[in-house]
Symmetry: C2
Subunit: 598 residues, 2 copies
Amino acid sequence: MPTYTPPTKDMQFVLHDVLNVSASDIPGYDELDRDFTNAVLEEAGKLSSEVLAPLNPVGDKQGCSLENGTVRTPEGFKDAFDQVRDGGWTALDCDPEYGGQGLPYLVSTAVGEMFSAANMAFNMYQGLTHGAYNAIHAHGSDEQKQKYLPKMVTCEWGGTMNLTEPHCGTDLGLIRTKAEPQDDGTYKVSGQKIWISAGEHDMCDNIIHLVLAKLPDAPEGVKGISLFIVPKFMVNDDGSLGDRNALSCGGLEEKMGIHGNATCVMNYDGATGFLVGEPHKGMRAMFTMMNEARLGVGLQGYAQGEVAYQNALGFALDRLQGRDVTGVQAPDKPADPIIVHPDVRRNLMDQKAFVEGARAFTFWGASMIDASHRKGDEEAEQMISLLTPVIKGFLTDKGFETTVLAQQTLGGSGFTQEWGLEQFVRDARITMIYEGTNGIQSLDLVGRKLAQNGGKAIMAFFDMMKAYIKDNAGEDEDFDAQFLEPLKAASKDLQAAGMYFMQNGMKNPNNALSGSYDFMHLFGHVCLGLMWAKMAKAAKGALDGDAGDAAFFETKIATGRHYMARHLPMTATHLKRIETGADTVMALAPEQFASSAG
Amino acid sequence: MPTYTPPTKDMQFVLHDVLNVSASDIPGYDELDRDFTNAVLEEAGKLSSEVLAPLNPVGDKQGCSLENGTVRTPEGFKDAFDQVRDGGWTALDCDPEYGGQGLPYLVSTAVGEMFSAANMAFNMYQGLTHGAYNAIHAHGSDEQKQKYLPKMVTCEWGGTMNLTEPHCGTDLGLIRTKAEPQDDGTYKVSGQKIWISAGEHDMCDNIIHLVLAKLPDAPEGVKGISLFIVPKFMVNDDGSLGDRNALSCGGLEEKMGIHGNATCVMNYDGATGFLVGEPHKGMRAMFTMMNEARLGVGLQGYAQGEVAYQNALGFALDRLQGRDVTGVQAPDKPADPIIVHPDVRRNLMDQKAFVEGARAFTFWGASMIDASHRKGDEEAEQMISLLTPVIKGFLTDKGFETTVLAQQTLGGSGFTQEWGLEQFVRDARITMIYEGTNGIQSLDLVGRKLAQNGGKAIMAFFDMMKAYIKDNAGEDEDFDAQFLEPLKAASKDLQAAGMYFMQNGMKNPNNALSGSYDFMHLFGHVCLGLMWAKMAKAAKGALDGDAGDAAFFETKIATGRHYMARHLPMTATHLKRIETGADTVMALAPEQFASSAG
C-alpha cells in the first residue's frame, strides 16, 4: 500500500528561506514564524499520513454508491471528516466573524497540499465547501452570510458549485436552468446540472448548493446568468433545518478516478433558491473566486506528483534488479537497488525537480492572493491573475506527467492496483480537466490575460525578471552559469513569444491562439526556473551562513541545477512551435481530419 | 460508446504509395497488389469495427474472474474468438507447413493494428499465442512443432510466455523457477510466475505455456536459463488431450487497464515440461522473437492512439461550445462545433500527425522483418534490430500521450467511463511497461544496439538519411523547405548525440545512459520525420500524376507539414538534455532523494 510522508522540511524552506514570510508586511504574516508554521504543518502532516492516506485506496476501490437518493461515501470517510472538522482544519483561512481562524491563505495552501496528496478525493468535499463559502462570503447578503457561513466554516454543512449542464460546460452562456421569481422574494430553480462534485453525500447535515441559472428576463449568453443558493434542507431563521428542498441526486458519474468523491447529476425541480448578489451577475461572482479555485487545482496536480514520487522513490531504493554499470553497489545482495541505474535516476530527478519547483511557485502564488486580499495590493492581484492559468494548466499537466513517470519507475508493479501508483495517475488526470480545461486556461492566458489593462501584468512580469537577473548576477560564477544564464534565455524566449503574438495575432487571432498551449508551458518553465533560481540562492545563502543541515541545501542546489539544465531548454522548442502560428494547425478543413478511413 | 473506423485508406497508401510493396523483391510481396490487400483489410476492418470494438468496453467493465482455478473471460469474448479463428485470422503469417497462410508479417501487422485498436485486451489472447508459436517454430524440435503448432496456428490452443517472477522482471538472471530432469527426458518444473497474460482462460481447449526455468546445473545469471514447453493438458501422441498438468492459476492481478485480458499468477508444482532448444540457451530463444514482439507492442501503442483520435474527432465535430473567433461558423446553431477553436485543432493535428507517422514507421519496420526472414537480408535485420527499441519505446510513449490528448479533447466527458476515452488511456499505459519497460528499451538502444558490430547499423542509418536527403533535394522548393530542411536538422542532432555518447560514454558510461531516454525520443522523431517526408513525397507524386482523391493527398501533405514544423524541433531539446550527460542526473546520492521530508 502506498504511503505518504509530509514534506514539512521543504515547505518550511519555501515559507521561510525563500518567501521569508514572517518578515512580510502582508497583514497576518507576522504571526507566521518558523515555530508556528512548523507546528501547523506537523499536525496537518500527521493527520494526512495517518488518517487520510490509508483511506485513499479504500475510497478508490469502494467508490460512492447511490441508494434511494442517498449517496454513501466509502468506509471511514465519515470518521476522518469528523477528525478534520474537530481539528479545526476546515476553518483555517476563514473569516473569524463566522468562526474561522483568519489565517493567511498561504497556510491553508500548505495544509491543502498535504491533504490533497494524502487523499485528493476526500479533500474535495471540504475544498468544494470552501469554494462555496468564498462565493457567499464575497457576494452574499449579510443575512445570507449569517445564515450559512458558520456551518460551512466548520463543514457541518457542505457546499457545491453547480455550473455544468449536459449540453454545456465551457460555454456557460448556453445554460438552460431557470429561476422563476416568487412573490416572497425567493426563486423556483429548475434544471439539470451534471458533474457536481460532492453534490450529495452522507458526511454533512446539510448541503448548500450554489447554482447558476437564468432569470426569465435574462439577456442571452453569459451576461444573463445569475447565482443562487439552493440548500438541500431549508434553513429556519433560528438556524435549525426545515423541509427538504425539491432537489435530488439523479445519478453518480462513473469515471476514471477520484472514485471517493461523488460526482453527481443534480436535478432541481422547482427548488427554492435565493439570489446571491445582483441579477445577471452570476458569472462575475464566479470569476472573483477563480484565482483561488484554480490555484487549488494546480496544487492538486503537483500534490499527486509529490505522493507518487515518494512511492516511486521507495520502490527504487528497495527493488533489486541488475547492477550499476560503473561497479557493484550491493555486493551482499543478488542485485543492486534500481536507483543505481541512470535512467531510473533521471526519472526520479525529473519528478523531484518538478514537484519542488511547483510547490515554490504555488506558495508564491498563494502569497500574492494574500497580498491582494489582505493588503489590497493591486499589482499582486494583477500578477496572480496573469499567473493563475499557468499555475493551473502547467502544474496539472506536469503533475499528471509526474505521476506517470513515477508509475513507470515501478515497471509492472506500477500498473497493478496493489502498489497504488496507478490511482495517483487516474486521480491526477482530472486536474487537467476541471475548473476549466487546460486548453481553456491557455485561452484565458493568451486571449485575455496578456492584453488586460494594456498588457500591464505581463510587462510587470518581464520587469521583475529583468530586475531579478540584474540584482543577482555577478556574485557567484556557478550561480550565474547554472541558474541565471538559463533563466535569461528562457525569459527571452517568453518575450519573443509575446512579441510574436503581438505582431501576428492582430492580423489573425488564430496565429496567437494556435500557440496558446505552448505559451502556457513556456511561461510555466520560466516561472519554475525563477523559483529554482530563488531556491538555489536561498540554499547557497544558508550554506554560506552555516545554517546547518548542509545536505538539505546541497540537495536543493543540485536538484535546481537539474531543472535548469534539463527542463528549461524546452522553452526554445515551445517558441519554435509558437512561431509557426496557425499555419499548419489550421491547415485542414474539419472534414479532412477523417481522411484515413476507407 | 466509442466506435472504430478502420483506417483502410491510409494503410493502403502506406503499403502501396509509400512502401510500394508489390514491386518489392521480398518473397511473397509480389502477391500484395492493391486489390488483394484491400480485400484483406476490408474484411479485417469489418470484424474489428463490428465485432471486436463493441466488446471493448464490455471487457473493461466485466474483466476476468477466477473461480475454482478457471478463468472466465468477459461475455462475448468466446464467440468473437471463434469468429477470429473461423476467419483464419490467427494463421495469417504462419508457416503453411503447420496450417498457416504464409502471408508476409507486414500483412498481419496491418491486420493487427485494426484488431488492437478495436480491442487490445481481446487481441492479446491471440497475440501471446502467436509469440509462443514463433518461439517453438524457431527453436523447437520437429516433433514439438508437429505436436503443438497446428493447433496454435488455429488458436484452438492458446500460448503464453512465462518470464517474470515476484522478485524479478527486468533482471531475469535472478529467476528461481527450477526444472528437474526426469529419466524419461522430460522435466519437472516448479516455481511461481507472475503477470502472465492469458495464462488461464476459457477460450481454448489447451494452453501451451513457455516457461523460463533453471536446470540444476545452471550457471549463474541469464546464461543459465532454459526454455520449456509446459502444456496445461498433456498432449498424447495422437494429438488428443491427456491428463491435466501440475500447474494452476493462483490469482488474477487487479490492474489499471486491459481488464479483458487475464493477467495470471501461475504456479508450477512439478509440472511436466519439455526442453525447447538447448539447455541454458533460453534467453537466446527469447531474443530471436524480440524484434517482432516489441514491434507488436509499439503497434498497440499507436493503435490506441488511432482509435482515441477517431473518437476525439467525432466529439470535436459534434460538440457545440463557443464561437470561432474569426467569425461564426454555424449561425443556425447555438454555438460552433469545438473543432473551430485553434487549441482543439492543434490537439487533433498532433494526434493525427503522430498516428499516421507511427503507422508508416511500423509498417516499414515490419517490411524489414520480412526482408530479414524471407530474404535473409542481413542489413535489414541489423536495421530493424537497431530500430526496434525506438519503435517500442517512442511509439508507446507517444501513443499513450495521444490517448491523453484525445481524452482532453472531450473535456469532462473524457474523464467519464461512458465515452470510453479513459479506457484507451488506461489500456495504452501498459504498452510503455511490458515487453521491457521503455527505460529498458532506451538502455538496449544506447547500451547495446548503437555499438553492435562496431556501430554498423547506426552508420547505415545515417548513410541512408544522407542519401535520402541528397536524392530528394532540389526538385521542389516547398518540399525542401518544409520537409528536407527540418529532417536534415533533426538528423544532425541525432548524429551530434551519437557523437556525444562516443566521446563521453567511454570515460563514464553514465554520461551515455543518462541520455538514453532522450536519445530514443530524438531517434523516434527523426524516423517519423523521415516517414513524413516519404509520405509527403508520395502524396505530391500522386497529385502530380493526377491519381484522383486529391483531398486525401493534400491532407497528407498538410498533416506532414504539421509534424515537421511542430514536432521535429523537439530534437534540439533532446540533444541539449543529452549533452548535460550524467552531471545533474547522478548528482545526488540515493539518500538525498528523500530530502523534503520533515
